[in-house]
Amino acid sequence: MNKYRVPSSVNLLRAREYGLENSFIHIEQTRRLANFTLCKYRNLTSYHHSSISTMSLEQSEYRYLLSGGANGHICCHDMFPSNLVVKHPIIFQIDRNSNREHHTNNICSLLWYPNDNGLFITLGLDKKLKIWDTNRVKTADEYEFNNFAYSAHMSSTTNTSIIAIGHENGDLRLIDIRTGSNSHIIHAHNKKGICLVKWFNNNPNLLASAGADGQVLFTDIRSSRKYYMALDRDNILTDNQQVNSRTTTSTSSIAHHRGVKSLEFLPDNSHLLTLGGDNHMYLWNVNNGQRLLVNYGPILTDNIRIITLACAQMKHDRTKSLVYVPFGKSIRIYDILSGERLTTLNGHLLPVSTCIYNRLSIELYTCSDDILVWAAIKKQQEDYELSMKTQERRYETTRSLGQILNRDQWSDDEDEV
């Protein structure tokens, strides 16, 4: 926790005023990252009646949040303004009542088009992938598959048009939305199927995929090889000579003993976090495939099929990296590089599936059957509660003689505000 301690805000403000502090924003972000508290007075207009399986925040304004439910319903909330007390409106919804083109089954993946927010992509368990025009809320294109697809992802680098899709039979499908071609299939995984696909942050040709058998493979889509690296949990990065590290990339290498539930690249582009059904979370170096010896302790993942972790990493100092991990009904915050558990966020009544970090507003969105917002506003919220209490008291005692005779007593009460 001490790692996330930063200088007093007043001193920092003064240093900025005198031109002594160039990393002001980074430092203020660091202060807030590990100090999240539930925003009790920020509500999203309720919509989902079933559990929410996934969410996606648009990356050009960091403003619009898509959420998809187990019943195939999708809705979009406007997360601005991030006031203390606010009700976030629904921008649009896609369901049986509002849109003929809706999904009929669980939403597996929601993707905002990386370059602008005029387009988003949805993948459902109805074996359909749809590309939507955001402004008209109408499908621009649609793909139907023969097999179930559990995960879709699009590279966040500019000028990309390829969606990767992981199928239940182990096929890795590439769709180029510019040309509409959907026939490129890589048979990387075995028949147990692919749970997750994710593009590398900084390279539009490299792809990570995770199987139900616990395999995590890195594929270069330009190459004819099925994959160029398979993560092996026994391939360990260590200073200790007694621990023999294995560097084979045989087909037997597995990252987790059971199916992989989460795959998340760190913003530094050189680390990957995986979370498995074996209740382990592992940190990997993506350049050499070595597992770093960080112990996060067991992480229970029982009820949720696919979990989305949120990573926050300080741009100027990558040792300050946090991950927000759904852990049953709560969210645990770990320091990624040391494995230290910093704090636990409680507030959901059902198991949490997805965490999303908004790095512009410095807040966290999490979902189970509802969506909650977390931010570093403990003091502001306490101030608000106090002011509400004082107001109530004022109404109650407006007519009290004490107040009329002794106004100073009132000002004393307000001292606490």
Partner: protein, 750 residues
């Protein structure tokens, strides 16, 4: 509704941000080149002193400025790198009548995506091999190959740059080692921060050596390396030719390392434990003597003593000596000129020209020859009318032994604060219930370094009567009072995240809180206009409130929903507000009062965006001229001054729609016509850029560019207005005379 602002520089930045020396203007001239944020000044050094010969503006903030000379050239050229990652190599030609032309030899955008380091970009140049090395992002170094520069071609070539991966993270310094066959450089970096080594002592540093394979455009590791334990190692100084040796300067230690040799360290008692060394410069060509300066402005002389036994050519250094020479301005840039004369460049104080004395006079080994004024950092400012000549003066609210010159008689009073208590804000106020007496309110907070935000503070009220100041009352508050203002005979205070209003009763001598508005994170500055209150938040942009006199409460009128890390704010008029942001951008926000939809009425639209390249601390209404000619076409009512960290003072003005269209179309024409130093596109320079957001510039006319129209030859002036087009591509008809008259008027107000 549109944003129609005019922004122009009144005072160029005065704080020095980089220094270099060389034979730039000609092979016989020796120049001092001083970068001041967005412009650089070229001086010729002569026996009479420094003579300013040219001041060059750049479309960018200069972060690297280095003179160098390729082996086949007879004079130096200048390498500049800007904050928006534009690189350029400039040459200078002397024209007639002491005029100097700046030529761009090479240019290019060197931007990559990547992780920003904590430190400024690092740059080192190997002139022998024609190689510039830049470290802009973590894990990557950029190699720039410089080919032929001496050609007479006037067109500029693109910089040839290659990225190379480097393992070392958080690099502190990079330097080329001179004299090697292949370009060889050393890297200073702190211990690795991967998980396995996370808990080691933080004071460990490493030196690594690399060689550049010019043909392969790659680097290879060399064997020489050095691990060291130093406190805050900050500089590398290569020593000698064709050997592996360097000096490392830490907070209170200077160490010499050499391949196959024991390190030589001095821990002089002269070096302060508190103050780290912030800059250095060599005195002689052979690198025997160096000048060092520390954080408190102390100047030291470091002498390396060589082994005399093996003849004079020996490079073995046997001892090092450190002497204190005296005190100067606190400086981060120092350069030795000639004959003991040294230039001291400061960001926070005046820059100085000093002479080093062989024998001490009055206990100091130096004599200050000249001082160069620096206005920065401008923390606060007010506009004072002196004999009808508008003149602004920056003043500070830093200590609390506070001189109050605002009252008729000069009064000095000092108040002792508690331990750890600091004054954050002040205001002069007359309360509604006691209009005859001026009061002074001081807001303080008790600051602990390990506390995120102060939890306790107070408002102290003083009364000024008959030439005396008396403390009347104090009131405890539960947060830092960032700002204070007199508002309708009451005291308006921004406490932490809230805006509070206090009234004072002269009978009971008490401050009573009337109402409060709860904001977002931290309310930093507050401005008022009639019933309206405007404040900017640490990270939630600006909000407009109205004080409802009947209810005695604040109601929120509108706010900007974008998360902007704002630094300052001001009213333009009832519906237009200006906000400065942490990344050096200006935002003008507009309220749509006429809208029928409620959710549109209470949202401020960001209609104007512009990159200023200056970190603005303060806006103040006011103008530098009071009188206007009768037939004036511009109104100076909305005139607003702004002051920045670098000593920059700028002026903002609202334009009428037609004038805005005219000037904007002229700006576009000028941006294409006026050659920019380093071939930086004007649009790229002014485009809004902050952490996580970039946007094209809009709603601001760049007065600095538009006013260059006046200096153009008549034929060009005529040519430029041939095809001016406004909104929707509608042609604008104007004459040179009309335009010149308008622009002259605009130029006159600053």
């Amino acid at each position: 509704m549109a944003a129609m602002n005019y922004v122009v520089t009144v005072q160029r930045p005065t704080a020095i941000t980089a220094l270099t020396t060389g034979h730039f203007t000609s092979s016989t001239d020796f120049n001092l080149i001083v970068a001041k944020n967005t412009h650089f000044e070229i001086y010729v050094i002569s026996s009479e002193g420094l003579k300013l010969v040219k001041d060059v503006c750049i479309y960018g903030k200069i972060t690297v400025l280095k003179c160098f000379r390729l082996s086949n050239m007879n004079k130096d050229v200048l390498f500049i790198f800007t904050e928006k990652c534009h690189g350029m190599i400039l040459d200078c030609r002397k024209a007639n009548h002491d005029q100097y032309d700046i030529l761009t030899k090479c240019h290019g955008l060197l931007k990559d995506t990547g992780r920003q380091p904590v430190r400024q970009p690092l740059c080192t140049i190997d002139a022998k091999h024609g190689l510039i090395l830049l470290r802009i992002f973590e894990g990557v170094i950029k190699l720039i190959y410089i080919k032929e520069l001496s050609s007479k071609e006037s067109s500029s070539k693109n910089l040839e740059a290659y990225n190379v991966k480097i393992d070392e993270q958080n690099i502190v310094d990079i330097q080329f080692l001179p004299g090697h066959q292949k370009p060889t450089f050393i890297v200073l970096h702190p211990r690795t921060t991967d998980t396995s080594t996370i808990n080691r002592d933080p004071e460990e540093y490493h030196i690594r050596t690399y060689q550049v394979e010019l043909k392969e455009k790659d680097i290879t590791k060399l064997t020489w390396k050095q691990d060291m334990t130093l406190s805050e190692a900050s500089f590398l100084i290569p020593i000698g030719q064709d050997i592996f040796s360097c000096l490392v300067i830490g907070r209170n230690v200077v160490a010499l390392y050499k391949e196959n040799d024991r390190p030589l360290e001095i821990e002089s008692s002269l070096l302060d434990d508190e103050a780290s060394i912030v800059s250095y410069c060599p005195i002689d060509e052979d690198g025997c003597r160096y000048l060092l300066t520390d954080y408190f402005g102390k100047l030291y002389l470091l002498v390396l003593e060589r082994d005399k036994r093996n003849g004079s050519s020996s490079t073995t250094i046997t001892d090092m000596k450190l002497d204190l020479l005296g005190e100067t301005s606190m400086c981060e840039y120092i350069t030795y000129l000639d004959n003991g004369v040294t230039f001291i460049g400061s960001r926070f104080g005046d820059s100085q020209l000093i002479r080093l004395l062989p024998e001490p006079e009055n206990g100091s080994h130096l004599e200050i020859l000249e001082s160069y004024t620096n206005l920065g950092p401008i923390v606060d400012m007010c506009v004072v009318d002196l004999e009808r000549q508008g003149r602004q003066m920056p003043w500070y609210v830093a200590r609390f032994t506070y001189a109050i010159d605002l009252l008729p008689k000069r009064t000095r009073v000092s108040v002792r604060l508690l331990n750890r208590e600091e004054a954050l804000s002040v205001c002069v106020i007359t309360f509604a219930d006691d209009l005859s007496t001026p009061y002074i309110a001081i807001g303080t907070a008790i600051i602990f370094e390990d506390e995120d935000t102060p939890k306790i503070g107070r408002i102290i009220l003083f009364r000024y009567k008959n030439g005396h100041l008396n403390m009347i009352t104090e009131r405890e508050i539960n947060g830092p009072p960032h700002a204070m203002l007199a508002f309708q005979g009451k005291l308006l205070v921004a406490v932490g995240s809230s805006i509070r209003l206090y009234k004072f009763s002269p009978q009971t001598h008490e401050l009573t809180q009337l109402t409060q508005y709860l904001g977002h994170i931290d309310c930093l500055q507050v401005k008022i206009k009639d019933d309206f209150v405007l404040f900017n938040d640490l990270m939630k942009s600006i909000t407009v409130l109205r004080y409802n006199v009947d209810d005695g409460k604040f109601e929120e009128i509108a706010h900007d929903v974008s998360p902007q890390w704002s630094t300052a704010c001001e009213f333009f008029d009832d519906d237009t507000f200006i906000c400065a942001e942490d990344g050096g951008n200006l935002i003008s926000c507009h309220k749509d009062s006429g809208s029928t939809k409620e959710n549109e009425r209470n949202i401020l639209k960001e209609l104007g965006l512009c990159h200023l390249g200056e970190n603005i601390n303060v806006f103040r209404h006011g103008c530098l001229v009071t009188q206007q000619t009768a037939e004036s076409t511009i109104s100076i009512e909305t005139c607003t001054l702004m002051g920045g960290v670098s000593g920059y003072i700028g002026l903002l003005l609202q334009l009428t729609s037609t004038l805005y269209q005219l000037l904007m179309s002229l700006q576009l024409a000028l941006a294409e016509y006026v050659p920019s130093v380093g071939k930086i596109d004007h649009g790229a320079w002014r485009s809004f850029e902050s952490d996580g957001r970039s946007d094209v510039s809009c709603g601001f006319v760049d007065g600095d560019l538009v006013e260059t129209y006046l200096d153009l030859p008549k034929s060009v002036q005529q040519e430029l207005i041939q095809d001016l087009r406004g909104e929707n591509n509608i042609p604008i008809n104007t004459t040179v005379e009309e335009l010149v008259k308008i622009i002259e008027e605009l130029a006159r107000i600053h």
